[in-house]
Amino acid sequence: MKIYFLSSIVLLLTLFANPIQAQAQHEKENYVVLTKKIPQLEPIFLTAETLAEEDGKNFGKFEVIICGQTVKELTDKEMMQKYINKAKEHNVELVACGFSLNKFGVDRKDISPKFRVVENGILYNLQLQKKGYTSISL
């Protein structure tokens, strides 16, 4: 009798535990956008705003990777501050590509600490896609 009881508990646990785990994985929607032009941040923020509304509680992370020659403009602190404020408002994380900074001679001290620098923006994007992020490149 005891054995029946225990085994039925185990059965119930396995039945219920699995769907819960599966749901947890799909709970959040994450996004990554790779862009080569800083002015594109404007429409990207609008996108994040719409998706946050659409996803509601399921809205996860929204990251923007900035790559290419445009990284030179990151040193324009006044212009960048506007974007940084808006990014904060829309829960968008700003990321700069380290390869691009090196290539175009941008010193990391000259850009806002609000930017996270990753070594290789291309690699970082593909790694996020592997984690299930929805991606677009502009």
Partner: protein, 139 residues
């Protein structure tokens, strides 16, 4: 008794081989990156090297698709040699859009031998994403 064990064994083996057939395509990580600029080959190949290490046995296919007016550089065999050795080592194939070649009047025989040709870059990219679940990035 012997017979039923035999049948069971066959069934188990069928099950295993069935699974094995599914996994090579389904479980591996495949990537495609498109670009219009030849110097971009360098960071893309570095990316492939890093992913190869990260994925281990799960690393599948890595393709670079080039298009646009800069593909003329793919005929510069000496310059291409600096990329193709590393590309080969990292399991990266490099292909070029046929339409771009035609527009620039480049004959396929002028290309570095490592370079493959696809009919249409955009169609190729979409097909890889649609049919083969490639992770994709356009630079």
């Amino acid at each position: 008794m012997k017979r039923s064990i035999g049948i069971l064994l066959v069934l188990i083996m069928l099950g295993i081989s069935g699974n094995a057939q599914n996994s090579p395509q389904g479980d591996r990580n495949n990537y495609v990156v498109s670009t219009t600029k030849i110097p971009q080959l360098q960071p893309i190949i570095l990316t492939a090297e890093a992913l190869k290490k990260e994925d281990g046995a799960k690393y599948g296919d890595f393709q670079i698709v080039m298009y646009g007016s800069n593909v003329k550089g793919l005929t510069n065999k000496e310059e291409m040699e600096t990329y193709t050795g590393k590309a080969k080592a990292a399991g990266v194939s490099i292909s070029v859009c046929k339409i771009s070649l035609e527009r620039l009047g480049i004959d396929q025989s002028e290309l570095h031998e490592y370079i493959q040709v696809v009919d249409h870059a955009y169609t190729h990219l979409i097909q890889l994403q649609k049919n083969k679940n490639y992770y994709s990035l356009q630079l």
